[in-house]
């Protein structure tokens, strides 16, 4: 019975980390810069999951294996921008808002599914407690 919540909570932590990364991506979508200059545009963060939970030394559960920084930029022609390069281009992170929103929905739904699993485990524990009363 012990450790049942660890598995669900590891997934809550992983999904929240993913939501954090998505929020950061969406927030930094309009930060421009020059990859070769002093002010660089932000890179896109992608959260990678893997099975197992090293925090609890368990094979069950899920953890964030890596947060990949993808350096993909698209240029916009803004010659008056102080960050523009010699050709008048400012580089922005190549973030696809639709893709980010879909991932955000998936993370939120997955978070809810794990909350449902926690509720189920709680109701099991409660009925085990009732044996004693």
């Amino acid at each position: 019975m012990s450790g049942l919540l660890d598995v669900s909570v590891s997934a809550l932590v992983a999904q929240r980390t993913r939501l954090d990364a998505i929020a950061a991506n969406l927030a930094s979508a309009d930060i421009g810069g020059n990859p070769n200059g002093p002010v660089k545009p932000p890179s896109i963060r992608e959260v990678l999951f893997a099975t197992g939970d090293p925090a609890n030394n368990s094979e069950l559960g899920v953890h964030v294996a890596d947060i990949r920084e993808v350096r993909a930029f698209i240029p916009r022609y803004e010659p008056l921008n102080p960050y523009a390069d010699a050709d008048g281009r400012v580089w922005y992170p190549d973030i696809n808002p639709v893709e980010q929103q879909v991932n955000m929905m998936l993370a939120a739904r997955s978070y809810e599914a794990n909350i449902a699993a926690i509720e189920a485990t709680k109701s099991m524990t409660n009925s085990a407690m009732e044996i004693l009363s």
Binding site: G3, V7, F49, L60, G61, A113, A116, A120, M124, S127
Partner: protein
């Protein structure tokens, strides 16, 4: 069937049922935790397999009791209920150890995960119901013991 669930020898069987449900809960919760993990295949153990195993053990004990071995057949730490190990369910000192298998259904996604949220949540709900059912019967057993001790209901 019913007398075996509420009779005096029911407790060992109910104990196994509770152990099975709590071990299976760990498997199901892990499936839910890994809904979005690339390459993960949901796993489960067969409830029917465990119930057959339990039924065989109960029948075996009933046969031994009926053949006149007496109450000795229902004594011991496991109440005379000897569960035969299968390749999915093994009895250890700390409870039941499960060896779940991939449940190969659903379409394999691009991430190599053939999740089926509805099936997983169905087994979650069923498992909780089975646990609560067994726990309620255990509670009933203790209530009858209590009534016997107090000599009034």
């Amino acid at each position: 069937m019913f007398d075996r669930l509420v009779g005096r020898n029911a407790m060992p069987a109910l104990e196994r049922a509770l152990q099975f449900a709590s071990a299976r809960q760990r498997v199901i919760v892990n499936n839910i935790a890994n809904l979005e993990t690339p390459g993960f295949r949901p796993v489960d153990v067969s409830v029917e397999g465990f119930q057959d195993q339990l039924r065989a053990a109960i029948d075996d004990r009933q046969a031994r009791l009926a053949s006149g071995v007496g109450d000795g057949a229902a004594s011991g730490a496991d109440g005379g209920l000897s569960l035969e190990d299968t390749d999915e369910v093994m009895l250890t000192t700390s409870g039941l150890e499960l060896t779940p298998r991939p449940i190969g259904e659903g379409i394999l996604g691009h991430d190599g995960n053939d999740r089926s949220l509805e099936r997983i949540l169905q087994s979650l709900t069923e498992n909780v119901m089975q646990f609560r059912f067994a726990a309620a019967l255990v509670r009933g057993q203790f209530a009858s013991l209590d009534a016997a001790i107090r000599e009034r209901p």
